[in-house]
Amino acid sequence: MSTAEYRAQEGTIDPGRIAERARPQIVERGLRARPGGWLGWITSTDHKKIGVMYLIATFMFFVVGGVEALMMRLQLGAAQNTIMDGQTYNALVSLHGTTMVFLFVVPVLAGFGNYLVPLMIGARDMAFPRLNALSLWLFVFGGIVFYTSLFFTPPEAGWTSYAPLSDDAFLPTGGIDAWIFLVHLTGLSSLIGAINFVATIHNMRPKGMGFGRMPLFVWTILIYAYLLILALPAIAAAVTMLLTDRHFGTGFFDPTAGGDPLLWQHLFWFFGHPEVYILILPAMGIVSEVLPVFSRKPIFGYSFIAYSGVAIGFLSFTVWAHHMFATGLGDFANGAFATGSFLIGVPTGVKIFNWIGTMWGGSLRFKTAMLFAVGFIAMFIIGGISGVSLASPPVDFQQTDTYYVVAHIHYVLFGGAIMGMFAGMYYWWPKMFGRFLDEGLGKVHFWLTMVGFNLAFFPMHWLGTEGMPRRIYTYFPDMGWNFWNMMSSVGAYILGISVMVLVGNMIYAYRRPREEMPDNPWDAATLEWATTSPPPAHNFDAVPVVYSRYPLWEDRHPVEGGQPAVIAAAAPHTSIDERSHPADTQVAVGEGESNAHLATVEADHGEHEAGHAFHLPAPTIFPMILAFGLLLIAFALLFSPPILKVTFLITGVIYFVVAIYGWVKQISE
């Protein structure tokens, strides 16, 4: 179904209106030719291309992590299965958890954020486009260094790598080192990315967009970025200490050398619990964008949703030790961390009530994006409630480290974060690629996901209460765990099929002849829909002025007693990279052309007649080379033959230095 048909059928918007909009002429005055093809991608500093590369890379890691999960479920499908031994299983546990957390959910949200935040706030790019490219390549090479361990010994201590198991006395193989470098590289990537988001969101919003008019997805990305900045240093310190424990004789976590294994747990979870909210908050943001559009109502209680996100962010730093109740912290500490953990349920619950309030009284269109958003709410309620029971220390003594926790984390991270991500994918796909994902296949994808997901993970609650610990590769047939393990494995494979349907949908969308995609096919309200699909390199011909939370709905629903419902072209918008760089490509808005990109846009012709041009950052290869240098240095520490060590170290340092020199030279030209 074409967009025009969809919109005509929904009967809300005059399809003719789209065609009426004339586009201004774009004159490229490039001083240096932009590379095309794949080189154009890897040297790109365009937040959209970087966002798309993030999404492609993370999706590949998602598939790999999913295959690892299916291999584990194959082994666990029957009691005393002999498909794999404990070592292989532990490697799969570690690869799956690490991949999904560090290489999929965190960076996929960075991908969405990268693509959408500048568009949603009417900016031309991120504040630091070159650093943005560096973030991407650090993440990609972090994934590569981790998966290099497949060629020798993968890590076997789980994604949490508890010391002293992860110490060299017990796991001397390089797998743990590969894991450490993964945390270093992806951590650096996230930290740089987070600083970029903070700088962008604080500085580059258009005229009129105060914090109270910022799209909720941008709100959650801002909180996500602050949480990353505050939480990542703890894990960076922890893995560095583990590295020196393993190779340089320190004993931070070694009890025989005066160290303390519990220090690892404190540092890890001081990062690890905020990390959970880092994973879920932007998905909540996506849901908060999708629900109003398909309910045809504004979000219910905007401030409650925005501030409950902030509250979750604050509280997330007060609850880390609820992962450590069973270590014997004592009644007082257990009680205090339990209280914090119960409290965090309040802002989470408020969000759910507000989402239901958004749909209440609306006119709900069940497009696939909406189905996944609703699925998110339905599943997240289950994950939230099991989380409340885990906040209670005595109950936790029974449930921690069992399949109950496995069920809980998957209801929150798959039922929550990944469902939210799927909603965002179906919702923004037309904006990103100028094509729809097929609705029919999308619905098949959704229902297979719901059935497979619940079959795979709901029985795990029962397995956990029946005493089945997690991370065991085999179990005795007389434990009473056989049936639900079998069902869980069946569910996991249904889930696997659902992802194949999604991949098929993507390929189908890619191969389908391109139709003319309107700017705003869903009749959405936020600024990313005010530009073409896909957007031009410079995003907006004229930077809009914002008078409400829903700028594109103003013509239909004027703000009562407020400003006139008009998005006017703003004065020249200055981003950090707009200060003139001769090497940069200049894009000028052609003179004398209609700037009525939106029906309501009024262009400031005077500016253009004065020769106004805005600058887009030049493409550069140096961020990638810098990240590659760090990858080689990690390899130098990872490989034991001295000749390899020296070669990797020297070339790595050369790449690193050359990249910094070239980078500085390029921007000071």
């Binding site: 006119s363 069940f366 209670s392």
Partner: protein, 297 residues
């Protein structure tokens, strides 16, 4: 292209299917009541009290779960798109309602917190055996679990190692066991739990919740069994490639049988120790003879 009417019916069917699925999910716990709550049995107070606390939590959570999911599904059906319906009212929120449900959620969680904190000491700290324990809370979390006055008690040191549990008993004469801990019934058993290599977690679901065995730390837990029997539990913290095979057991027997077992075990250990000492002496003698012959050359 499907007609709008068909689309409506399809949506309705989909929603009903979702409703049925969630209904099943909600109903399933009732059908599997025994696997719904954490294991308990043997009448051990920590496990039984945890079970009670879990059930309180569950019975508070279930109505909330059903209510919220119910309202969600109801609103999906009730407010679905209908052809020709007017544009919905642009409600932006209702501050009074929102404050109401924030306070409501907070109230429920405060009640739950208070109940939990009330239960916590009774589950963590050994039972007083009827007598009042003045100032007991202050030392509850220290390395030495206070042995409750009144009533019999036994302190066992539990040491985890890859991939087996060792239990050291107090008293004159060495007494220890691997894999299976034998304890007398109707006796408060206090455990000092530690590890000699990596982290493990000692857990017998039917008797008590997990207590991590952390090298360099001594964790404590307690239990009391009223029924004779063997209770089994896996190590609950990933400890290496044979983590799945690291199983601990507790066998509870009457105090008389326990004493008989302890005597037999002590004498077995003595016999074994003597045999070992003899063997060592013989080896040393052989070695000495060998060295002597070397010296003579």
């Amino acid at each position: 292209m499907a007609s709008p009417c068909q689309i409506d019916r399809r949506h309705l069917a989909a929603l009903l299917a979702l409703g049925a699925l969630l209904g099943l999910l909600a109903a399933a716990p009732a059908a599997f009541a025994d696997i719904l709550t954490p294991e308990d049995g043997g009448g051990s107070p920590p496990a039984e009290r945890t079970d009670v606390l879990y059930e309180i939590t569950l019975w508070m959570a279930l109505p909330i779960f059903l209510l919220v999911e119910g309202v969600l599904i109801y609103s999906l059906v009730k407010h679905r798109f209908r052809r020709g319906a007017p544009e919905p009212a642009q409600v932006r929120g209702n501050t009074r309602l929102e404050i109401g449900w924030t306070v409501g959620a907070a109230a429920i969680l405060v009640v739950l917190t208070v109940i939990t904190l009330a239960f916590l000491p009774g589950i963590r700290d050994p039972e007083a055996g009827g007598a009042q324990r003045a100032g007991a809370v202050a030392v509850a979390a220290t390395d030495q679990p206070d042995v409750p006055p009144g009533g019999p008690s036994l302190n066992v040191r539990v040491v985890g190692q890859q991939y087996i549990w060792r239990y050291d008993y107090p008293g004159p004469g060495r007494l220890f066991a691997y894999h299976r801990m034998v304890v007398p019934t109707d006796t408060t058993i206090t455990l000092d739990i530690t590890s000699q290599d990596v982290q493990h977690s000692f857990w017998i679901p039917e008797l008590f919740g997990k207590a991590d065995a952390v090298p360099g730390h001594i964790n404590d837990m307690w239990f009391k069994v009223t029924e004779e029997g063997v209770y089994r539990g896996n190590c609950a913290e990933l400890c290496g490639e044979n983590h799945a095979q690291m199983i601990g057991e507790v066998e509870a027997m009457s105090p008389d049988r326990y004493r008989a077992w302890a005597d037999r075990q002590r004498s077995d250990i003595r016999t074994a120790a003597r045999a070992l000492a003899d063997q060592r002496r013989r080896m040393q003698a052989q070695q000495g003879a060998g060295e002597g012959s070397l010296l003579r050359q």
